[in-house]
Symmetry: C2
Subunit: 399 residues, 2 copies
């Protein structure tokens, strides 16, 4: 008796972060601020297999606090999976039975790619604030060098949420011939005054920490209090008011009545404190400064002339996805991007998903979002690769 097999979804399993040093020979990495960097180390992971004509590669761009470890586990008994494990794997939207998925830590990061905590070869000491100011364009330029290094001429897709979505957009603008599709999720064509204001306060909190020491803190205590405040504040903007209400409301934390003191009375306070202290253990304060500034600067469509100029060579597909309770990058920001792209005759599709999870919804289990993401990728895969899959089983599934 034959039964229909349900779609297999699984894990990419145990994975290793790889490292490569780029710009060792030849010209250095040129940055938008005018400075250069060389060499530049990049931490990256890959999932799935590159097909024969290297036409099935998907680049995932991480957001402010992400890293190269997007899927799987680093050991069999690793309790934590990568940050976007629910979308990357066999049978998942970024289907590793068919696509070759790449994720790298961003330039300026603190998880294996060259950033302000890296050693400056000129001085033998960490860069700190002598690290050059970077832009999302620079971060994408380094990703392009990695993609070239991996022997991929054209990405089947670049995808990302939040700042990763801005980078996916930057890719199709800067490398139109190398980007067959761009998936821009929970993102924006530019930061608003309110977004910039929150970033500015976050930086102020870090720089006001006495351990900040103008960025030279790697030999001593780190500006953890300032970074925790920055993270806690940002975290509020990642969640919707309704989501916070449903999760915490005014519930007290392990107590029957008010403390009438300055302990954490409410569960939401304890939750935020935990978010702050967990974050400072794994993240570098200088990276936070550089990356928020790079986001502030992002503005690919400052005026109609520049917009027309930047979009005229774009031929790839663009998918824009937003969440209705996201108030960090409101749905109206995605709609504005769609309008710009439509007016410039781009192949753009748009979906707004219902969620109570705010900005963070793109990281969570959201079946309708995953379904749309999977469908967009599959259709696009069939069109662009003509079924040239790394495995026969894989291509049969898709076809």
């Amino acid at each position: 008796m034959e039964t229909e097999t349900p779609p297999r979804t699984g894990s990419v399993g145990v994975v290793q972060t790889q490292h490569v040093e780029l710009f060792r020979d030849g010209p250095p990495l040129s940055l938008d601020c005018g400075a250069t960097l060389a060499p530049v180390r990049v931490a990256f992971e890959t999932y799935g297999r590159l097909n024969a004509d290297a036409s099935n590669a998907v680049l995932i761009c991480h957001a402010l606090s992400g890293n190269a470890h997007a899927a799987g586990r680093h050991a069999e008994d690793d309790p934590k999976t990568g940050w976007w494990d629910n979308t990357i794997g066999p049978g998942k939207p970024f289907d590793t039975d068919h696509y070759f998925v790449i994720c790298c830590n961003n330039l300026g990061g603190c998880d294996g790619t060259t950033g302000p905590s890296s050693i400056d070869p000129k001085t033998g000491r960490p860069f700190g604030l002598t690290f050059p100011m970077i832009t999302l364009g620079d971060m994408v330029r380094l990703q392009k060098a990695l993609v070239d290094h991996l022997g991929i001429r054209r990405l089947m897709a670049v995808a990302g949420g939040s700042m990763g979505g801005m980078m996916a957009l930057q890719w199709i603008l800067d490398y139109p011939d190398a980007t067959a599709a761009s998936i821009v999720i929970a993102s924006t064509p530019r930061l608003t005054a309110q977004n910039i204001a929150f970033n500015a306060v976050a930086r102020q909190a870090i720089m006001a920490d006495p351990h900040f020491n103008n960025g030279n803190y790697y030999d001593g205590p780190r500006p953890e209090n300032g970074l925790a405040v920055a993270r806690m504040m940002a975290h509020i903007t990642y969640l919707s008011e309704q989501g916070l209400h449903e999760k915490f409301g005014r519930r007290l934390q392990n107590r029957e009545t008010f403390s009438f003191g300055f302990e954490n009375d409410f569960a939401v306070e304890s939750y935020l404190s935990h978010q702050g202290s967990a974050f400072v253990k794994k993240f570098d304060a200088n990276t936070y400064l550089y990356i928020t500034k790079a986001m502030d600067y992002f503005d690919p469509f400052p005026d109609p002339e520049t917009t027309a100029q930047r979009l005229k060579r774009v031929t790839g597909k663009i998918m824009v996805m937003s969440f209705d309770s996201d108030w960090r990058f409101d749905t109206s920001r995605s709609k504005e991007l769609v309008k710009i792209l439509n007016w410039h005759r781009q192949q753009v599709s748009f979906e707004n998903f219902s969620s109570t999870h705010g900005h963070d919804a793109f990281l969570l289990d959201a079946p309708l979002f995953h379904q749309s993401l999977a469908s967009f990728l599959k259709r696009h895969y069939i069109e662009t690769t003509r079924g040239n899959s790394p495995t026969a089983a894989g291509s049969a599934d898709v076809a």
Copy 2:
């Protein structure tokens, strides 16, 4: 030839802050936390004249960062008027030709009323964090003592915006016989998880400042960096995204191009920095801690039984006013309050005003809001005082 005289609106002129020491004799001020305070100094101002039967008194409650100086100037050449000067004065909504307007600095404040920066008579040193935890109920209890001291048995109205609105609500619940009307503006029946979260981060920023020293900073440098971060973050929540966009957008501050450094690139950053540094010159960090905690605790209607109990003796009128771009205390918070009051058969009126100014709209020139506020007060005044005005001219105007 006779012409119609336009409504005269003017200033209350030069005013002085007065001080009184209450709870000097007799029982001390009892606080909700169980502690007591005595004596308690109160800074207050009054505008207009109390009528013969003391029936025209209006109490104004200030918000987190306000003080007793609500209207007029402290000297002829004082460049600054009181914080709500656009609503208080001859011909203005709180019409001092007819009403006797009172405003006092809140308990726990830092502008003349006893608070954590006051000298503890027991030790001869500032209270700091030995100051008892206070609630909005305690703050209103002190206001009631001041109103008693002024010989007023029943307030014609209590009004306030933001936290002041919560206090106006607390008044009619705690002193139903002494409150003929309560005007609750840009406020909420309770803080949401998101509101509490922002307050928690603000306190964290203050307490993380190395100058905080567990609240004992009055002899040395003050935790100005932490307080500035707290204020800057809160300030973002006082303004609407649209308001910030219209005022600043992505405009650069005195520069043509990006700094590619950590200076303030954008005008909104400079504006916020200015808000932070101006605030720390006039406000006490410990007061910020105590008052935000008092707001967190405010929850007069925690369950249906308590709500019914608290509202059953209320006979005064309640006016609820909100602004559509306010996201600190969203219009839906005011609507929830109106629903609770309606369900408990209260005389409640409600208006939601259109504005791009967010939470701060109640402090700004908003003609429609002022018109409704003035009309509510005038009708109520005629009903409650039977025209027993302090001046004949005044009552003629109203009638």
